[in-house]
Symmetry: C2
Subunit: 727 residues, 2 copies
Amino acid sequence: MGGMSGASGDGSALARGRPGEGRRPDGATRGLDALFRPRSIAIIGASTDPRKLGGRPLANMLRGGFTGRLYPVNPGAREVQGLPAFASLEAIPEPVDQAVIAVPAAAAPDALEACIRKGVRVAVMFSSGFGELGAEGRAVQQRMAARCRESGMRLLGPNCLGVMNPADGVFCTFSGSLTGNRAWPRAGGIGIATQSGAVGTYCYTLLADRGAGISHYVATGNEADVDVAACIAWLAEDEATRVILTYLEGCRDGPRLREALAACAARGKPVVAMKVGVSEAGAAATISHTGTLAGSDAGYQAAFDEAGVWRARSLEEAADVAVACTAGALPRGRRLGVITVSGGAGALLADEAAARGLEMPEIPEEAQKAILALVPFASPRNPVDATAQTGNDRTLLTRMMAIMMGEPDGPARFDVFIAFLAFVAENADAFATVLPALEALRRQRPETAFILSMRGSPEQRRMLLEKGLFLCEDPTEALRTAAALVHFGTRPPMAPAPAVPATARAPLPDGPLDEAAARRLLAAAGVPFVAERVARSAAEAAEAATALGFPVALKVLSPDLAHKSDVGGVRLGLRDAREVAAAYDAMLREVRAAAPRARIEGALVSPMVQGGVETVLGVHRDPVFGPVVMFGLGGVFVEVFRDVAFRLAPLSREEALAQIDSIRGRALLEGARGRPPVDKGAIADALVALSRFALAHAEEVASVEVNPFIALPGGGLGVDAVILRDG
Amino acid sequence: MGGMSGASGDGSALARGRPGEGRRPDGATRGLDALFRPRSIAIIGASTDPRKLGGRPLANMLRGGFTGRLYPVNPGAREVQGLPAFASLEAIPEPVDQAVIAVPAAAAPDALEACIRKGVRVAVMFSSGFGELGAEGRAVQQRMAARCRESGMRLLGPNCLGVMNPADGVFCTFSGSLTGNRAWPRAGGIGIATQSGAVGTYCYTLLADRGAGISHYVATGNEADVDVAACIAWLAEDEATRVILTYLEGCRDGPRLREALAACAARGKPVVAMKVGVSEAGAAATISHTGTLAGSDAGYQAAFDEAGVWRARSLEEAADVAVACTAGALPRGRRLGVITVSGGAGALLADEAAARGLEMPEIPEEAQKAILALVPFASPRNPVDATAQTGNDRTLLTRMMAIMMGEPDGPARFDVFIAFLAFVAENADAFATVLPALEALRRQRPETAFILSMRGSPEQRRMLLEKGLFLCEDPTEALRTAAALVHFGTRPPMAPAPAVPATARAPLPDGPLDEAAARRLLAAAGVPFVAERVARSAAEAAEAATALGFPVALKVLSPDLAHKSDVGGVRLGLRDAREVAAAYDAMLREVRAAAPRARIEGALVSPMVQGGVETVLGVHRDPVFGPVVMFGLGGVFVEVFRDVAFRLAPLSREEALAQIDSIRGRALLEGARGRPPVDKGAIADALVALSRFALAHAEEVASVEVNPFIALPGGGLGVDAVILRDG
């Protein structure tokens, strides 16, 4: 992996010049080269006991072979773990890129000041007892962050597990994972950016089980300065990093995370994310943990969706997907080929492929005949069941694979290929037969992703991964991984976020916004609404209805009544002028009786919309990401089935269309139950308009809802609208 | 595990008398003692080469130490793998319990006859080339099955991977898994009954990774005689088997599977199932594999649901759940306690607990204070984050656990407890500190299920499992396993299937069944319908409407029109006699114009049902399980969201209520969106009536649908009904 990634210590780091120089010096990644690729490291609080928190980073780097210069700082020792010790940071005769602060919380601010005086580029603060403990700790943390901003020094932490870069031998961490026997991080192509140190180290051990190593590991802890978004942005540019695995609890700066994910998408670098804090209990756990605001999940999901992030449900899923991404090219289509030594596993994989939307094209008849000529009992289509008959002659298996793949110089038949080989790798003879053939096929089809599902040792996994073959023991999980690869390989390029026109930035009118005002504002912003007229009397209502065309609906007009139907304030399907006039009077009588204190200004008259599908368009302001645009089907589908999709504002038309297509009930928009398909473009235009409106009034508007918005075969019409002002 | 299960070779088998004797001699399990616990085994086609298919069973049993007598049959050898060989089965001087038939397909029928002549109790036929190959092979297979029925000998296979019982040293299999280095099946408490041999052996290796062993392994192959249901039924009664793991592609005898699962439920024995063939491609793969009819998934899901089977989505999930079930008592409630060395893992577990419906009660304030007294930075509620501060003194961790658990003689606070300990087991000192405390807590709380999530070697997992501590590396999967344990521990006892009254078994009337006839039949069976009258003229319609009460609906009555609204044959919301008469004439004109060849017999007049929730009740005949009862919400919810639940007929009222509660949209029945909750009991009664009707007319009726059935606050009313006759 190290060889594949091109990250080989000194060379590449030096070639780029001194850390901290070049590359967006004013952006979020400013100075982070010194975090990820330091050439000199001081350890403040370095302990002579390698088991102690302050002794571990030094012990780790001595073991891991740090390629730069190490300066233990310990006023009470002349030597620490065999290296000459310095009484203070100032006593170090040379410049220091990175300083590890491994002292108790009370002494940490002074250590930070010493770092600033010394001109250290980045401080890594292990010390805990700040923002995670409450107001007092938070205040100290904020003062330290302010000092960093003033001085230009960057700060990782406090309360963080540090940073690792195995290729350069950087192990500035006190993680218990390094003291065990099994785990030592190897160099590889996966960058880990995590808010939880322990979860992040757990991940690298899961990667190691799968034969893969890491380019960098960074745990951001309390994020007084450097946050996980900045780390992702840095990794997006890092040559050694081919995939990013991130664990998130929440972030304070949504737009920065959005930008970092966009940078990864722009470079075609897959991002695999675990985001916790979805449930109330989970969010509470993260708040007490690092004091991060978890925010609502909708904003994160929207940010992930727009950038094509794969959201993993478990750490093992995240590890499988990240490792498989490093095994070769990403598939450019959804065609899956499967061969198994067990019909059962084939059926299992076929089920899972159907569930995850992968296609399993049959192989050509000629190829099927050729397979049957080898083993008459085989199932020759796709999945191919080679059967247990191949147990005595494993070349039958590899010959079948070659037949499945087709002519070497012909077009590829599959974008992903999964071989379930059960125990082949546990039998030395069998493996020796199969492996060279697998390697040859892999070389012959560089555009096809290969996944093996079989028993295998960590050593075998590593060897196979280096040959571009990902091993995943469980066939269901192998298929899940294949689906993730297809997701990354087939996602459309991320649409650039559209600019928000300055013209829309007019202030909202003062006072409460009734329905008519809300409709007027949104219509002006580009959301189409059903025609309507205000009537102040029965006669005006009848006249308006005649002009609009029958049948019509009447709704009471009042700034005080949010739920009109509850007080008898809605009349539907009125068929002529006489009915309208009678209904107007009856309705106002009923409403006055039910809500005697409400101001009643008349009624809205509008034509009944025939047919179409009821949808809901909305925007709410997310504390982390700003306006988040919602789309769903009407009422019950949103409230009970939670069948909604979110995107961040501003929203491109392409993203809006993807948003519409991502709901489970999309068939209803496409002509289910014999109805004509509706105009998704019209919905998309309305969502884009809504997103612009919300962004233009971001400071004033808490939420907007157009409910229902009737999607029609040739357009779409909002019927009702509510704008909630901030506060 | 062997010690825990009580399966210790000779003793227990002998204590029960000769295999095949006792215990339901005429049931599906007749003679299966000789399959699972043979005392003498002959191998027909025994090879001197232990690597060959015919040599492997003998080699396996010599290695595994079979405790009974072994008779290799090979006419061309005097000795096979060190044992005296017999020229024929007849030449064996003693009775033979089990004969392995390891000869090519062409020679297999003769070998079977020899077994019958010898009085063998069960034959295990490895040979392939029968039912899975097409009509010719199927005919041979059927003849062999018939010979077994006549003679009383049982047959496993053909085309099967055989049977294992590690406690007794039975390894009648040619599985490649036994020739590898890593895997050798150990004795334990998990019984594997599989239709795919290779998937089944893969499972035992996954169990071994988790420290667990198997009581029995049986692969049923083509199931000419012994099927997987019979094996499950036998394992249900087997003392050594504490959990059953089954892999199913399909079965021919649904009621037998249902009975076997009921036997497991009655004995409180958890069943974990992988069922494939769900998708079309998956089903096609299973058919070409063993020639099994996969059947529709609805019937299987219904059978699993009624018996409380845990349906696993992956083999690793199945293995986790099965192993965890053997670690101790099943939890009797949903209360989860979590401690972690990482706040991140705590948040992850809290999210997953919320998603899976487990509760995480806060621990008492006193206990929280005691935890903070140990580590001031800890999060003391639940999940408890012990923090990395415990890294230097692991007793802090175990003391916190003890505090969480409460007074040893007080009531248990948790039904399941998960500890995420990351790398503790990889550090010898840390593990030596933590392990005794974990053991003590486990002993102190036998009623609480303990799951550890940390890195651990297979040896550590095995050691921990023997102490009642299940180790699952991935925290998400640990939680999934906890949810499965809670499922098994809290499921209500399986309701006995009600008897079907003979009175219902009247034949259906001849000829096509129009809506009125369908309603009449179903109403007589106990499904309530909205009142209705047949009108043959406009005057009769007006009269009927006046008698029923306004508003009413009119529907054209015709045996030829299935979709009445498509031809203008429905009128709704008619408010007085005049409107009804006018609508009758207009409707019949429109229908005659749209469908000039349809026989029109008049119209049905019924009152409009006000309010309520539209549901659909249905029954269809499943080829494997017979009538399957469906429940869902109206139209779109069933067709687009597939929010339906299935149960097998006959159906108890308790099961019907569970069925209703299992749909995703159940909130709509319970008063979502401000509506009053509906009467679920009335729906349940209608489902039970429908299930009885379908069973009473099982030969004549292909499907029944009551659509819509309006569920109301005080009852429920069917509006429309269709009965489809067979063929």
